[in-house]
């Protein structure tokens, strides 16, 4: 098991290094010149060149990449003398648009995205798995039919519709949360009520679509597993239906859910653009979409891309380790 994990860890580092390299190369190929973008109104070639040097863009892509990697571990400085800017490690770059170190910008946005993703994750897993198991257990009965309706609504309503509906007809209509407070960051440990006020409905919006597809997935998995030979064996042993379901069916039926849940969660950690937009949350999604569409802020795009990729890769690793713990067949292979 330890050997398996260390092997997987080394792969993970390799993949992350490659991703950072690819992202760098893509940005080197982009038609936009980041130095020119930082230039402002009274622009001339000298200013552009000076900025290029300050940004560290005057060297080759490979060198830029190497400086970036070194900066991650050692921190970085931009410019010199009185215009010296220092970004402590881990430095993801410096945004000349916002005049802030990217690490600091991300550190501000990430808790919001994490709150949203984690809250939604817990909600959709709870709703989806519970409803799916119930629907399978009472196949053809009322619960099953009701869950089918839920799945249909959940999967066919896009987040930007369901989000606005919830905002208008639940949040504002019943005056549950002051809409102006919706995007306010509150520390969940010191101010749990404030955190709930800010994040409950965004999480619910995001969770709805996922919960629907997880309900369907869980239901079909449980039903499929129920017809396995080893479930018949479990009954033939004399186990009660409850134990058969809990110990034998669910263990096998829920294992694949670990995989997709991990990957869905990882994807969300990169930012949920639409939900963050509807509820005015200053998370990673909104940060990167602004950087792409409005500011052309390359250091931020680079950092958020790498950040999102890192989550996917690391979650993959975690999922694989979890899966090996759940399914003994994976361990030996």
């Amino acid at each position: 098991m330890l050997k398996y994990i260390s092997r997987r860890l080394s792969y993970t580092f390799l993949v992350l290094t490659l991703i950072s390299l690819v992202v760098f190369l893509i940005f080197a190929l982009l038609p936009a010149d980041p130095a020119a973008l930082t230039c402002g109104k009274s622009c001339n070639p000298q200013v552009i060149e000076a900025n290029r040097r300050r940004l560290g863009l005057d060297v080759s892509v490979w060198q830029q990449w190497w400086r970036f990697i070194v900066g991650l571990f050692q921190g970085r400085t931009y410019g010199e003398a009185e215009a010296l800017i220092e970004c402590p490690a881990p430095a993801f770059g410096y945004s000349f648009n916002r005049h802030e170190c990217v690490t600091k910008i991300i550190a501000g946005a990430f808790p919001i995205t994490l709150s949203l993703a984690l809250g939604a994750f817990v909600m959709w897993l709870t709703i989806g798995v519970t409803l799916g198991v119930l629907a399978a257990r009472f196949k053809g009965k009322f619960v099953d039919r009701a869950s089918t309706v839920f799945v249909l609504i959940g999967t066919s309503l896009p987040t930007f519709i369901s989000g606005i509906l919830i905002l208008l007809f639940v949040v504002i209509k019943f005056n549950l949360v002051n809409p102006l407070e919706l995007g306010d960051w509150a520390n969940p440990f010191t101010d749990p009520i404030g955190w709930l006020k800010a994040f409950f409905f965004p999480c619910l919006t995001l969770a709805l679509a996922y919960a629907a597809s997880y309900t369907r997935f869980t239901r079909s998995n449980v039903l499929e597993t129920s017809s396995e030979d080893y479930i018949r064996t479990a009954r033939a042993k004399g186990l009660s239906e409850k134990v058969v379901l809990r110990k034998h069916t669910l263990r096998a039926a829920l294992a694949p859910i670990v995989t997709i849940a991990g990957l869905d969660f990882a994807a969300l950690l990169g930012g949920a653009i639409i939900t963050e937009g509807i509820y005015n949350l200053a998370g990673l999604g909104r940060l990167s979409i602004r950087a792409v569409l409005v500011d052309y802020d390359l250091p931020i795009i680079l950092a958020t891309t790498l950040f999102a990729a890192t989550f996917v890769v690391v979650m993959n690793l975690i999922v694989d380790i979890l899966y090996a713990l759940i399914d003994p067949r994976v361990r030996v292979g």
């Binding site: 080893y230 018949r232 064996t233 009954r235 042993k237 004399g238 034998h248 263990r251 096998a252 003994p328």
Partner: protein, 340 residues
């Protein structure tokens, strides 16, 4: 003394959109302690359906079951069909155990074999998990798996097919059942492994004086281990007799056809293998007369259209030898000899 298992007029039917599938119809047989009864028949003849009914494993909401299946324990007698689900559940794994066809898929892939055997033991015995594992180790050793102390912690995928079937047997035997139902226990295995598994079952039967209900379509296995044989066709028992009677004096044309379709090393060299022509009838629309009439080669020897009009009853053709046919046992044997 009453026989351990008494099946009387057992019928199992599944309602489907196309009509009622009569998978087993009027099945009756008895099985004594220490005896082996083989149920033989082709796929869809109702063998497994009968077994699952004895185990009470049919979904009652989706199945129509009638008749009775009495399990006569020393202290009490239980009818599987009319008892509550919970009463029947308590028989499973304790008084009756089952071994399934495919050991590859019948063991849970996520639990070690020790856990699975220990789980079966702990349903009926008070003991800690480590007691269960100890008991599992004993059982694994008993069924002839070497290095039991180490193997008990391994998972099903680490065992070969034959070894997995041994694990299944160990699990079935862990609570000293009175009856083992073996549903085609060797079908998925190599021939050499088959004989080992059959030998193991016989050894265990001797050691624990169990009854075995063996379902198979391998007539070679039947000849080797069975005391009595039931031949099933289209959901009905068409012949029931002692094993020698079946092989030497078959009294039903379907049985004759089955026996003639076995390849034999001492005969038939260069000849085509005999096969029974045609297909079994649909279990939704059974013919009015004999279910086998359409495929029967001896039909022409019966006067008029008796075969297609009147279903023959299960009659005692000789001592303890029952068969469904309008012809007498002697007539069939003559025709069988002539057909060779």
């Amino acid at each position: 003394m009453k026989p351990f298992l008494e099946v009387k007029d057992l019928s199992v039917a599944f309602p489907t959109p196309d009509g009622l599938v009569k998978a087993a119809d009027g099945i009756s047989f008895e099985l004594n302690q220490g005896e082996t009864l083989a149920i033989v028949g082709e796929s869809g003849s109702g063998k497994s359906v009968t077994n699952l009914a004895i185990m009470g494993l049919h979904n009652r909401a989706k199945t129509q079951i009638s008749g009775s299946v009495n399990i006569n324990l020393p202290d009490r007698s239980i009818d599987v069909i009319s008892s509550t689900e919970d009463e029947v559940r308590k028989l499973r794994g304790s008084a009756i155990s089952m071994i399934f066809q495919d050991p590859m898929s019948s063991l849970h892939p996520y639990y070690s074999v020790g856990d699975q055997i220990s789980e079966a033991w702990r349903i009926y015995n008070k003991g800690s998990k480590s007691d269960g594992i100890k008991r599992a180790t004993e059982m694994i050793d008993l069924v002839g798996i070497p290095d039991a102390a180490k193997r008990v912690r391994e998972f099903p995928h680490q065992f070969s097919g034959g070894m997995r079937q041994r694990v299944m047997i160990a699990m079935a035997l862990v609570n000293n059942p009175k009856l083992i139902i073996a549903d085609e226990p060797t079908t998925a295995l190599d021939v050499t492994v088959q004989s080992q598994i059959i030998q193991l079952l016989r050894d265990m039967q001797k050691e624990f004086n169990m009854a075995i209900l063996l379902v198979t379509h391998d007539l070679g296995v039947v000849a080797e281990v069975a005391d009595r044989v039931c031949v099933m066709y289209a959901g009905k028992i068409v012949e029931q007799a002692k094993v020698d009677e079946i092989y030497y004096r078959p009294a039903q044309p379907y049985t004759v056809g089955l026996l003639q379709s076995i390849p034999r090393v001492d005969q038939l060299q260069g000849k085509r293998l005999n096969a029974i022509q045609g297909q079994p009838p649909s279990l939704i629309n059974l013919p009015k007369g004999c279910s086998f009439a359409e495929r029967c080669e001896f039909k022409k020897h019966v006067a008029g259209n008796l075969c297609t009009e009147v279903a023959p009853a299960l009659e005692e053709k000789a001592d303890q030898h029952f068969a469904r046919c309008h012809l007498s046992a002697a007539q069939i044997q003559d025709l069988a000899m002539a057909a060779k």
